[in-house]
Symmetry: C2
Subunit: 462 residues, 2 copies
Amino acid sequence: MSQSILIVNNVATNRIVLNVKLSAAQYTVHQAHSGAAALRVLRTNSIDMVLLDVDLPDMDGTRLCRNIRALPRSKNCLILAAMENEPLDKKKEIMAAGADDYLQKPVDDKILLARVRRLFRARAAETELQLRDGTAQALGFAEAAASFQGAAHISVVAGDRTARDDWRASLQEFSNHRLEGLSRCDALSQESPELAPDIFVISARDTEETFGLSLLTELRSNPNTRHSGIVVVLPYENHNLSAIALDMGADDLVYEGFDPAELSLRLNVLIDRKRQNDTLRQQVRTGLQAAVTDQLTGLFNRRYAMPHLKRIADRAKRTDQSFAVMILDLDHFKQVNDQYGHATGDKVLAEVAKRLRDNLRPFDMVARFGGEEFLIVMPDTPLHQAKQAAERIRKLIAKDPIEVPFQDSSIHVSTSIGVAVGSPPHRSTFDVQQLLNDADSALYDAKAEGRNQVTLARGAAA
Amino acid sequence: MSQSILIVNNVATNRIVLNVKLSAAQYTVHQAHSGAAALRVLRTNSIDMVLLDVDLPDMDGTRLCRNIRALPRSKNCLILAAMENEPLDKKKEIMAAGADDYLQKPVDDKILLARVRRLFRARAAETELQLRDGTAQALGFAEAAASFQGAAHISVVAGDRTARDDWRASLQEFSNHRLEGLSRCDALSQESPELAPDIFVISARDTEETFGLSLLTELRSNPNTRHSGIVVVLPYENHNLSAIALDMGADDLVYEGFDPAELSLRLNVLIDRKRQNDTLRQQVRTGLQAAVTDQLTGLFNRRYAMPHLKRIADRAKRTDQSFAVMILDLDHFKQVNDQYGHATGDKVLAEVAKRLRDNLRPFDMVARFGGEEFLIVMPDTPLHQAKQAAERIRKLIAKDPIEVPFQDSSIHVSTSIGVAVGSPPHRSTFDVQQLLNDADSALYDAKAEGRNQVTLARGAAA
């Protein structure tokens, strides 16, 4: 399926010329001569991009953009608007109404196609980052996207200090963002993606490599700056070079002598997009971490614990070391839930988790294994040491009652702990499932013998 | 922090020239005149890429690559090898030893820098996809990466049918992969990323747009082909154009009259990388899904359920519709676990989850809320309908005992269900926490009154 583009243009010959160009580039092309005709096409077809010449007989471009965004089928399609050199307010208006980019007429074919590709490329990258609506909200980041509205960080990069200072000063007049001038060297020496500028405005006059676009390509290949927005300032209007710059990853471009007010408008568009994408990337990272974390306690979950246990067992086999597996279960936890309610039960679980985490070594693993059941895996730990550790854990949980907000009394809890150890002379004890079964049986014995105690797996004579 | 490159070259003047070029591009440069010196630098410095001229006094390139890979500090650094026009076996050998790319001497500066950028760009994209070691394994995909070794799908794209057929046939001689000839139009009409070719080998002779590189840029901006590997075949050797092609996203390039055996070697490198990246992307998708899924039952988890419930409540408020919230708890589930063991208990939970999922409407949500507790949210559902649904669910779980493998008998389970309904006349009932509390209290009543029954929240007179 090729990508589909709707040409909206009042002039038949313009439509024909565009159709030829876009069809040659293998896009599926639809056409409309008016705003109403465009909306008809959008209601019945799946359209990826609207190429909108705003000079229409029946509707102004801003209104059409709003109408496009109001249709469920086209609310996410891309809109590239072409217009005469209108006052800046008109441009702002159409961008606010939902256009993704605009060009000034007459539009050169090469640049038009390169802009189309740039929009499609950016959209494809964004789409990959999108989570299902539910997932994003479930991970609690839906609000974060909208909330951050502070000043952005924009760097103006040019070898010529005067140009750099002039551009910076003229942009600052129209902007509340933090603007700084940078040398090419400093631009390429960012410490981290978080500290890198949101946007680079870079001069293409400085070097001859790759037609003066080497800074663009270097910023794009640097892990700290690859997600920054980049606006290229070309020394003079050159359609070939403009298309190359866009295809090499420039997000936008202007020519020397640009109107700083207009560039500021374009910068704001890029800043919004950059922030949205930063949020999406953050959501992905958070989501992946959430996949292996128990939400209530912050411990690892069972999904993480099982393969981790397997890795520790494999490593112990290789290095001929013992390791310990403990299953720990809160005693009479159902009574806590029944007597104080689930919310209090959850607080107890969280506090027990905290005590466990604070009292184990950094390389021990503690996971929530089930409702009130925890798994502890201790690498490089022989039986007597495992027994001591389990005893210590049992005591520290039984000793201090757990304070619970809004309850008059604090709650005493105790734990039963089953301990199994995989140790080198008994190779069979390295079987992970067997170890878990052994620890589980030991836990069962601890429960049967009155709870609040540590029991070693049978056969593991201490 | 700029990226760091180690130049390994036996000839001092070569090192000096390279140093000037790379420093101008703002890389941090280290130098070594021999294999031993290179390893010393790698042991004590953090190096991102080694530019290795294999003509060394003390060590052949293959051995040095192996040694580099054996050092913990440099096992992941990039290696770009430069060599005379050696037999293909030599090239294979050095790639097998761990080089990421190789170039034939003499190496043009522009091309060298573009190759360096390409390697850095690819590495940065890969690194972003990497999950923490533990996360990847926890999600169960560590093995998947290595296992898939079938034939790859390679498309040769050229307007000239004869060239296309010749290239395809000559490549097929050296390859077990599935090779096909495609027109430019077919290349751009892929149905999905999964069905698109792993690799495109494209002729840059066909069009004049962007120096014949328009197909490259169009494939890169198309969501279905943006992750495919792309090798550009340039009509003749041209250093400028080569650098542009690499900076526009070509993964590799050759010139017409290429050696098909050598191109096959290069294709295999790209295929491996493509597959690794496909796996990484799949891991990310799976990981995100896992974050909202209960592993045991495949239902949504609590993390997903809560904001989803909130969304349904908000929507009900807007549309003035009722919606139902049920909390369902298995009766005496602890006895199942105690009597038959946790494994059997898990099977029971999974079967209950299946029955719930199979017997609700597609837009109802069912989630595992806690150990043996499930949450059901039914949009657009008034009280009497919710009551009927809950009664139906209760019956279908109590009716047929659950078959459990390796147990002589099947297990009878029953459920208690608490039901609360948010309905328009009572705006306060749209408070999500209140609804959950009401359903929970109703569940408690159902338990108190003997279990295996449905109870409506107090105040919700039917």
